[in-house]
């Protein structure tokens, strides 16, 4: 019996020791979290883990360039890339939930809002790098850096992106469709001609809801420059008239056959190949599509402004930009062991990524200015944006921060592309969401 007790006691002691030792071991992490332990500040080498998109030429190019430049500027910093996955930031949220945040991460406004609440993002307001970044911004893109709550959470590289309508000039000439199309009646008439000739009038990857939402926003911004941002208002329980008008226009365009019957089940690859293979007259996407379309269709393709209810409205609103600037970019984890350095590196990566886009790709849609010359071989369509649209931009659409309202718009604009769903249904559904969310 005594022997049994002794054995039991020995087991208990061993277990207790194991637990105590494990607890001591775990303490290492906590002590490393001390902000004073910024290795760079002490002059040592610093390793920073960066979670960023790095899966194709468009994402690898700017990031690799920025890292190469960083090696020249801050050779003591070593970057460990953790490639981001296309998962709606679920991997990043899992990192946050398990306390394994990378030092620097690239993310969007929806995630930044959640991280701000849960204190998984460093507020960058008082850092010197932020003051410098603010001073370097291109005009009109402040909303990309400063969040609606007045704080800075991330350093953006791109400027405010927006959607335009691309069209195949050869097909338009062949069918004698006058350009630019200025009113939605003209757009409906063009859809009729294209359909009759056997073309898909407008190719759209409406299996993704954001693009139907962007199309609707294009129509809305002709009369309400703030776009969806106008819906983010306490007490607003009914869609303003400009939104109702845009819904009615979208319904008429759908009825005129502007979209393919299978549009809501068409993905980007299918929609873009319809356009690039000359089976569709028009294509809707962001300005970033310029590079692909110029490469695939050369000078056969151009973009046009969004149509309005009449020519006067078109002329008055054509420089209203159908894109809203939401904060996004390189953010820093408050739990980083090298927070001070991480903030500087995040700002540097964002600035250099923008520099690559400007100097190598010729994109003027960047947040910070750069003192280097723009790329010489800029596609003509991008040059038009730089020369014609950006200098004349009257107003950018405003950000809609309410995810529920945005999701309701996404769902219902996709529905608008299906026979039988009316503008009235759209308005009823949106009013229900608005009255719930804005009360």
């Amino acid at each position: 019996m005594n022997n049994q007790r002794k054995r039991l006691s020995a087991i208990m002691i061993t277990l207790s020791m194991t637990l105590v030792l494990s607890a001591c071991g775990g303490g290492n992490t906590a002590s490393n979290n001390n902000p004073a332990a910024d290795t760079a500040a002490e002059g040592g080498a610093v390793k920073l883990k960066v979670y960023a998109q790095h899966f194709d030429d468009d994402t690898k190019g700017p990031f690799d360039y920025a890292v190469a430049e960083l090696q020249k500027e801050m050779p003591e910093v070593e970057i460990e890339l953790d490639p981001a996955v296309q998962d709606g930031n679920q991997k990043l949220k899992t990192y946050a939930a398990t306390g394994n945040m990378p030092d620097i991460y690239f993310t969007d406004w929806a995630t930044l809002q959640t991280f701000a609440k849960s204190k998984n993002v460093e507020v960058l307001d008082d850092y010197e790098a932020t003051t410098d970044y603010k001073n370097s911004l291109n005009p009109g893109v402040e909303s990309r850096l400063i969040a609606p709550d007045g704080h800075v959470y991330a350093y953006p590289d791109t400027g405010i992106e927006f959607q335009v309508i691309y069209y195949n000039k050869t097909i338009f000439e062949e069918l004698s469709i006058a350009t630019p199309i200025k009113t939605y009646d003209e757009l409906a008439a063009a859809a009729g001609k294209l359909k009759e000739a056997g073309y898909v009038p407008m190719s759209i990857f409406a299996k993704e809801k954001w693009i139907t939402s962007a199309f609707y926003n294009g129509l809305v911004t002709r009369e309400e420059a703030a776009g969806f941002g106008a819906l983010d208002e306490q007490g607003l329980a009914e869609l303003p008239q400009s939104f109702v008008t845009a819904a009615q226009q979208l319904e008429k365009l759908q009825q005129a056959g502007l979209f393919d019957a299978n549009a809501t089940n068409t993905n980007y690859d299918q929609a873009s190949s319809q356009f690039y293979q000359g089976r569709a007259g028009m294509f809707v996407n962001g300005q970033w599509e310029i590079y692909s379309s110029a490469e695939k269709l050369g000078d056969q393709v151009d973009w046009m402004y969004w149509p309005a209810k009449d020519e006067a409205t078109y002329e008055a609103s054509k420089y209203n930009i159908a894109g809203a600037g939401s904060p996004q970019g390189y953010a820093v984890s408050p739990a980083s062991d090298n927070k001070e350095t991480a903030v500087k590196v995040a700002a540097f990566l964002a600035a250099k990524s923008a520099e690559y886009k400007y100097t190598q790709l010729g994109s003027p849609i960047v947040s910070p200015k750069t003192d280097k010359p723009i790329a010489s071989d800029v596609p003509v369509m991008m040059q038009r944006i730089a020369d014609e649209l950006l200098p004349n931009a009257k107003e950018y659409a405003k950000l809609l921060s309410n995810t529920q309202i945005q999701n309701a718009i996404n769902d219902n604009t996709q529905n608008m592309l299906v026979d039988g769903f009316t503008a009235e249904d759209f308005v009823t559904n949106l009013n229900r969401t608005l009255s719930k969310e804005n009360q």
């Binding site: 679920q90 949220k93 929806a110 991280f115 849960s118 299996k207 995810t403 529920q404 769902d411 299906v418």
Partner: protein, 292 residues
């Protein structure tokens, strides 16, 4: 045997690992979901107690009606197609006079081992309104029934359910086939000697003796239908709009798209409750009169 079963510490020792694993991966998450359903929680911040507000909001949510209707339709299609057709095929394959039974059995099971993504992509192509095989087939047969299968707000859920039913029919078939083979042949022979036709003998002898198999098959079909998700996500992304939403799609939306985990937990609890009720009802229905 009694000596082994009487050794309670040994029994506990052998059962404990499995019980622990089951508790950690099933019981604990379910209980956590129940607790979290009473909180307002974004998945990361500190949760705040919200009482029954998530449930009150859920029962007024228009998506709930759509999801319940779609779940019901999905379950119905699975039950009718997989179990109905699976039973007929199992009876046919159990007949020793049927030639090529081995080939048929393998053929029925092939879709089960294919990836869901592959099957969905295959059917997306087949459902294409312009060039898809389904519409072409109607055309060739001279039936004027050209449909936009995955876009129609009324038909798309049935079209998608059919894909699931087609793919996993082989699984139900294998269960039903095992059930048919478990029925002693003497009973069937006795019935035929008494003048019963082949199908009548199956109706009166084989099928009633497969009660336990049917109970299991219906439970799988109905609960799979209520909780269906993957096919909708791949084939239509729940659209157009929210027309193809199910309860699981609601959970996905509220948890991962809107970071409203508390509300998503409330939907999860409802899903578990409905599945439990369905299982109990199926058991009651099949047990009725069994011991009379």
């Amino acid at each position: 045997m009694n000596k082994y079963l009487g050794n309670k510490p040994a029994l506990a020792l052998f059962l404990l690992p499995a019980l622990l694993l089951y508790s950690v991966i099933l019981i604990y998450p379910v209980l956590q979901s129940v607790v979290r359903s009473f909180y307002d929680w974004d998945g990361l911040s500190t949760a705040t107690f919200a009482g029954l507000s998530n449930y009150r909001e859920l029962f007024g949510d228009p998506l709930l009606a759509t999801s319940l209707k779609n779940g019901g339709l999905f379950a119905l299609v699975l039950a009718v197609f997989q179990i109905g057709l699976g039973t007929i095929l199992a009876l046919v394959c159990a007949n020793p006079k049927v030639r090529g039974r081995k080939l048929l059995k393998t053929a029925y099971f092939i879709p089960v081992v294919l990836s869901v993504t592959v099957v969905c992509q295959l059917w997306i192509a087949m459902y294409d309104p312009t060039n898809g095989l389904v519409n072409k087939l109607f055309d060739v047969l001279g039936i004027p029934y050209q449909q936009n299968w995955l876009v129609s707000p009324t038909q798309s859920i049935i079209a998608i359910a059919f894909v699931n039913a087609w793919q996993f029919m082989g699984y139900q078939f294998s269960l039903l086939y095992a059930g048919v083979k478990a029925v002693p042949e003497d009973y069937f022979e006795a019935a035929t000697i008494d003048g019963c036709g082949k199908w009548r003998a199956h109706w009166h002898v084989t099928l009633p003796l497969m009660r336990e198999t049917f109970k299991f098959c219906f439970t799988i079909a109905i609960t799979s239908g209520i909780g269906a998700f993957v096919q909708m996500l791949i084939m239509t992304n729940g659209g157009p709009g929210t027309t193809n939403y199910t309860l699981t799609f609601m959970i996905y939306r509220y948890a991962f798209m809107e970071s409203n985990y508390g509300y998503a937990c409330a939907v999860s609890v409802l899903l578990v409750m409905i599945s439990l009720v369905a299982t109990v009802v199926i058991n009651k229905v099949f047990d009725r009169g069994q011991h009379a």
